[in-house]
Amino acid sequence: MASAEIDVKYVAHLARLALTPDEEKTLGAQLGNILGYIEKLRELDVTSVEPTAHAVPMVNVTRADEVRPSLSHEDALRNAPRQAGGLFIVPKIVE
């Protein structure tokens, strides 16, 4: 369907996802196909229908604001790809 075309490069940038030129090409074709199928939803008139975000509607779920045990500093850092001095190490953000 002509209306269903994705600018894969742009969307991949939004998703912070590096793709190879081959991946961009394959994904473009496959997603066009899937979006063509999804177009069938437009057949339905849903003007007076409320959207469902969750099947079991629950509102304002709260719990007591109490201090509870949580992960230790050491445990929280245990899976870090790079760490030093009790911190996650990332590339320089500010020049």
Binding site: I6, V8, V11, A12, H13, L14, A15, R16, L17, A18, L19, T20, E23, L27, Q30, L31, N33, I34, L35, Y37, I38, K40, L41, R42, L44, V46, V49, E50, P51, T52, A53, H54, A55, V56, M58, V61, R63, L71, D75, A76, R78, N79, A80, P81, R82, F88, V90, P91, K92, I93
Partner: protein, 484 residues
């Protein structure tokens, strides 16, 4: 052969001290050593830890402790956090991740005495219907190793079907428990949304995901559901509803219950042998005293389209956390944006990338209302279809999957065809109701299991389980074993 036992059979033997928990665990590990080279149900298993847990269970048994799962080996899908064990979601992106805590469902299994072991293979981040999308290689169906076990919880289903464990846990977002259970010939239960806490389950689509059991019979499914259910302060979507004694609901008496047969489920792509087996099952239900009522779920045809908008949108948000900063693998970059992109490009597999792109697109500026909001509204129509049907009937009966297990590679080149294989299971998650797949027959040549799906009302697990139990008592399909 202790590895072949059900939970109720094994706990009875353990209580009588006929056997030890260590012998039961060792029997499963021996079975894995013999057959898992062919099946690849497990990504890994920590034998020393499993046997240490079994020894601890034996000590408790000798002190006279009584717990519902004491000493029972249960295998875990690689998407649930088990403290100090690896967690990969069958992806490269998690690197050498070790879980720092237990998921609530795991905590409850351990508190009930279970020996929690193994990392069952799956489609990467639970995205798939064949377990071919695993970074660790595919799982093979124990009934025919040239075929897929279903997915995404294919490792859990194959492990139970091949008697590599007593029971297993999986997760179901659009059929990922029920479809592999059907294709491997075991029982698979997806509870009502909110019945079991999702804390410690790596989120794929938060409004659809539920944890559930794979078992060798319906009674075991009831037992595991009872152990894992309940409200949890750490999951605000878990529902504060009392947990009934599910095993007590298994009376086998279903006289007068009304079973709905949706006319929309008799579609063109339905395999004739699957249709024949489901027809025979419906007839059996009539013999057992249930009343069959033809019903209509008019928006069935839109379910797959709604699902692939809602699920991918939620996935694109949930998977944003895999950015190479706090955990998992990292590919370095000159700035954070490059680091994120390179890490995610190298770490995610093709299907995950496809869904992230689709989900990002349907949420992006200018497309949100046309796709995401439209899908959420059609989701309301699908849910209303079910609520209306349940005013008329106590449960709904359908095939679980339109075909038996297909060949490895058969659908992997065509994502849309793969998505359509979930056509009977997806609506259940969108509506938030409960569902179960039970064995109901075999195809002839080759001989492959066929699954029957029962769908129950929200929190209607007792009636649904009793219907499944009545059928199981009247048939012997669930007793057949794959020759592997």
């Amino acid at each position: 052969m202790l590895n072949q036992l059900t939970i109720s059979e094994l706990t009875a033997k353990l209580a009588q001290r006929d056997v030890s928990a260590r012998e039961a665990m060792q029997s499963c590990l021996d079975r894995i050593a013999r057959v898992d080279g062919k099946i690849h149900a497990f990504i890994s298993h920590d034998d020393a830890d499993a046997l240490a847990q079994a020894d601890a269970a034996d000590q408790e048994i000798s002190r006279g402790a009584k717990k519902p799962l004491l000493g029972v080996p249960i295998a875990i899908k690689d998407v649930l956090a088990v403290k100090n064990q690896p967690l990969n979601c069958a992806s490269k992106i998690l690197g050498k991740f070790i879980s720092p805590y237990d998921a609530t469902a795991i905590e409850k299994l351990k508190a009930a005495g279970a020996v929690v072991f193994g990392r069952c293979n799956m489609d990467e981040f639970a995205m798939g219907s064949s377990t071919e999308n695993s970074a660790f290689g595919p799982t093979h169906n124990p009934w025919d190793i040239t075929r897929i076990p279903g997915g995404s919880s294919g490792g859990s289903a194959a492990a139970v079907a091949a008697d590599e464990c007593i029971a297993a846990l999986g997760t179901d977002t659009g059929g990922s428990i029920r479809q592999p259970a059907a294709l491997c010939g075991c029982v698979g239960l997806k509870p009502t949304y909110g019945r079991i806490s999702r804390y410690g389950l790596v989120a794929f689509a938060s409004s659809l995901d539920q944890i559930g059991p794979f078992t060798k019979d319906v009674r075991d499914a009831a037992t595991l559901l009872g152990v894992m259910s309940g409200h949890d302060l750490r999951d605000s979507t878990s529902v504060p509803q009392p947990v009934p004694d599910y095993a007590r609901a298994l009376t086998g008496d279903i006289k007068g219950l009304k079973l709905g047969l949706p006319k929309e489920y008799l579609i063109g792509g339905l395999d004739p042998e699957v249709k024949a087996a489901v027809d025979a099952a419906v007839k059996k239900y009539q013999e057992l005293g249930a009343e069959i009522v033809e019903i209509s779920l008019p928006h069935t045809d839109y379910a797959v389209a709604v699902y692939y908008i809602v699920a991918t949108a939620e996935a694109s948000a949930n998977l944003a956390r895999f950015d190479g900063i706090r955990y998992g693998a990292r590919v370095d970059g000159h700035d954070p944006i490059e680091l994120y992109s390179q890490t995610r490009g190298a770490g995610f597999g093709a299907e995950v990338k496809r869904r992230i792109i689709l989900g990002t697109y349907v949420l992006s500026s200018g497309y949100h209302d046309a796709y995401y909001l439209q899908a959420q509204k059609v989701r309301t129509l699908i849910r209303n279809d079910f609520l209306k049907a349940f005013e008329q009937v106590d449960a709904i009966v359908t095939p679980t999957s339109p075909t038996a297990a297909f060949k490895l590679g058969e659908k992997s080149g065509d994502p849309l065809q793969m998505y359509l294989s979930d056509i009977f299971t997806i609506s259940c998650n969108l509506a938030g109701i409960c569902g179960i797949s039970i064995p109901c027959g075999f195809t002839q040549n080759p001989r492959l299991p066929i699954g029957l799906q029962l769908l129950g009302k929200p929190f209607g697990e007792e009636t649904m389980l009793n219907l499944a139990y009545a059928f199981e008592q009247a048939t012997s399909w669930h007793k057949e074993k794959a020759a592997i």
